[in-house]
Chain length 370, copies 2
DNA sequence: CGTCTCGATGTAATCGATTCCAAGCGTCAC
DNA sequence: GTGACGCTTGGAATCGATTACATCGAGACG
């Protein structure tokens, strides 16, 4: 592959001049520039990004470490991250942790070794020494979706408390009183937060959340199935189940169907994270939708700000409840084609008109500087 | 960040010796090795992969350019590729083309600039000059799923002809005679191949595939919806629709539901590419399943072979029909929990027991050296 | 007409590794 | 005693770029 030396030789100039032309340095005569460009063209020369990175100490690359690519929520997040990064002149290298701390560490180490300019992480656990060290050492870093408490790193996430409150209100009005949750790993913020929000919302209706109604999942489908089976084996099974992510909801659907039970007649189901498929499941699943694309874009902007030395703010957006049929038929239906998803596909969906809620709603967007 | 020089200084040796220790070169005394390792440890030194790549002209990185990350088929493919690559000591950088040739080119160029060791591509179109040049220039390359005819690059893919034949046989037995297809872009091999296989299978049953029953899609949900609407507007709409990928099937479901029609009573639906969600849609969707994980692994193995100078073979695996309920109830039901997907989730599924087929079945696996 | 300035270009150092070559030194055989 | 050999180790070139500094020539100005 042709190098800058070859170009210099063909154009009859020094490598410095070639470099100047390539980097749009002003002090190159028009005539020389043309000659160099012609040489570049004729050789099909492309600068070696590796050499350039070594010299400039910049890779124009962002690392993104996510918990599970197979989860449509993270897939969409990854996509929006790449899109925004590209428009900012950065590439993205994705590391998939599969919810495994060791794999997460592997990817963080790998990305750091490659000298990425900045790191976007949705941590799988409470944080390995490696990640904490990196943060402390000044690697530009931003947490997205999940975060690690006590680390001085901006966080871009969605607050689901209002939406969870709306969900509980929805369940309550449909007559559900024995409600259970399939929780995510306690080590993740989203895992514990969603349980707490759910518990608080239930409490505001005077409903308990007994321990047997808290199933420990790991954000994967299989755990949703396992936990749901446990619920159904209880002497007094719940009449509604809330899955803390979409894959565990899928597992729950599996388990319920395997028992020959019907949603929502025998048991209601709702999920955190909305995905296109939920419109077409049997029945369509009521879910809490995060502004995923906006989350990804905001995270990239925050990280790029940090990389380029600008002040960086944490961003909190709000999630919203999307009512479908999996918790029971509300008074009204709204069956026709409705609000579209990203691609403009008609969705069988109703964004809940903020039902009467005993707790004050949160402001739609919070911003705080870190 | 500490460099090899710092390590050398701390250990009281030259950089050459440090490098030897790091690369497990034999001629270093045990005592020196220990001293160097101690220095590495105390400094938290990690070798700079950028510098190393520049010197060795190897990045130990594979590029993967896929057509659409949001398509669960490609997500799973990407995941298995990364997994296998990791076990071979390579990292993967994914480029998402979003079915856009310009984006595909952007990513190929970017990956080439980064001097990846090899390229895995599922081309969005017939192939840009850029990609053809790269192939000709000797960049180790392997096509996966889709390919570009006439280019001397190994192909790893699944043959769906048998499965399509099985599908048509299934449709025929259920009484469907007016069958339509939502095709992918003609520029992709999978786009045209699936139409041809479908047409051939129909012909073997004496059924026509008139032009009005061939809808032009682009592998995205919106096009599936649009094409299906067109079908339903025909004076004589089809009684069965075959979508050439899962996203277009999703769009078709949307369109059918928006008309208030029922699957399979009013119209049957089947899809190419099986995904976990198809088990839980209303109704569960009959689909042609590719051995996605194996495809990804085989592709990586082929590419690594090529990179490391071993002979490389094209690989063709076979897809199989998975019968569910979206084409109508067959004689039997098979309602209980059944064969699992990758994660072991019970699926409401029946792998078709190779129905009587007028054409001879293909051998299960073909291998040919390229 | 000499010098000063400025634009255009080249020379060479540098980034952080790897690796060839040479050198130092101890040991052993003759 | 000395030459050869082998084991360790260091010096220095190298990969392909960027960039500070030097140089050179031409035009401006006193």
């Amino acid at each position: 592959m042709a190098s800058i030396k070859d170009v210099a030789a063909v154009a009859g100039v020094s490598v410095a001049t070639v470099s100047r032309v390539l980097n749009a340095h002003p002090s190159v005569s028009a005539e020389t520039r043309a000659r160099v460009l012609a040489a570049v063209e004729s050789l099909g020369y492309r600068p070696n990004a590796v050499a350039r990175s070594l010299r400039t100490d910049q890779t124009h690359t962002l690392g993104l470490v996510i918990s599970d690519v197979l989860n449509p929520y993270f897939t969409e997040l990854a996509r929006s991250v790449e899109e925004e990064a590209r428009s900012c002149g950065y590439s993205v290298i994705i590391g998939n942790a599969d919810e495994r701390p060791d794999l997460q560490d592997h990817h963080v180490r790998n990305l750091l070794d490659r000298r990425i300019d900045g790191l976007l992480v949705s941590p799988t656990d409470g944080g390995s020494p490696l990640m904490l060290d990196a943060a402390r050492a000044g690697t530009p870093m931003v947490f997205v979706d999940r975060w690690i408490p006590g680390v001085d790193v901006p966080v871009v996430r969605a607050d689901g408390r209002t939406a969870v409150q709306d969900l509980v209100s929805h369940l309550y009005r449909l007559g559900h009183r024995r409600v259970a949750i399939i929780a995510g790993p306690a080590a993740t913020t989203t895992g514990s937060e969603r349980v707490e929000a759910f518990r608080a919302a239930l409490a505001s209706y005077g409903l308990p959340l007994p321990d047997v109604y808290i199933g420990q999942g790991d954000f994967q489908a299989a755990s949703g199935r396992r936990v749901t089976e446990g619920f159904l084996d209880l002497p007094e099974p719940p009449d509604a189940v809330f899955a803390a992510d979409n894959l565990m909801a899928l597992g729950a659907l599996d388990a319920i169907r395997a028992r020959g039970l019907r949603v929502p007649d025998d048991i209601a189901l709702a999920a955190f994270d909305d995905i296109p498929w939920f419109v077409h499941t049997d029945p369509p699943v009521t879910a809490i939708a995060q502004p995923t694309g906006e989350l990804g874009r905001a995270a990239v902007r925050a990280l790029v700000d940090r990389i380029e030395g600008r002040p960086t703010a944490s961003v909190t957006l709000t999630a919203r409840l999307v009512v479908r049929r999996s918790c029971g038929e509300a008074g009204q239906t709204g069956e026709a084609g409705e609000a579209g998803q990203d691609g403009g596909i008609p969705e069988q969906t109703r964004v809940v008109p903020v039902p009467a809620s005993p707790t004050p709603p949160l402001p739609p967007v919070q911003r705080s500087t870190t």
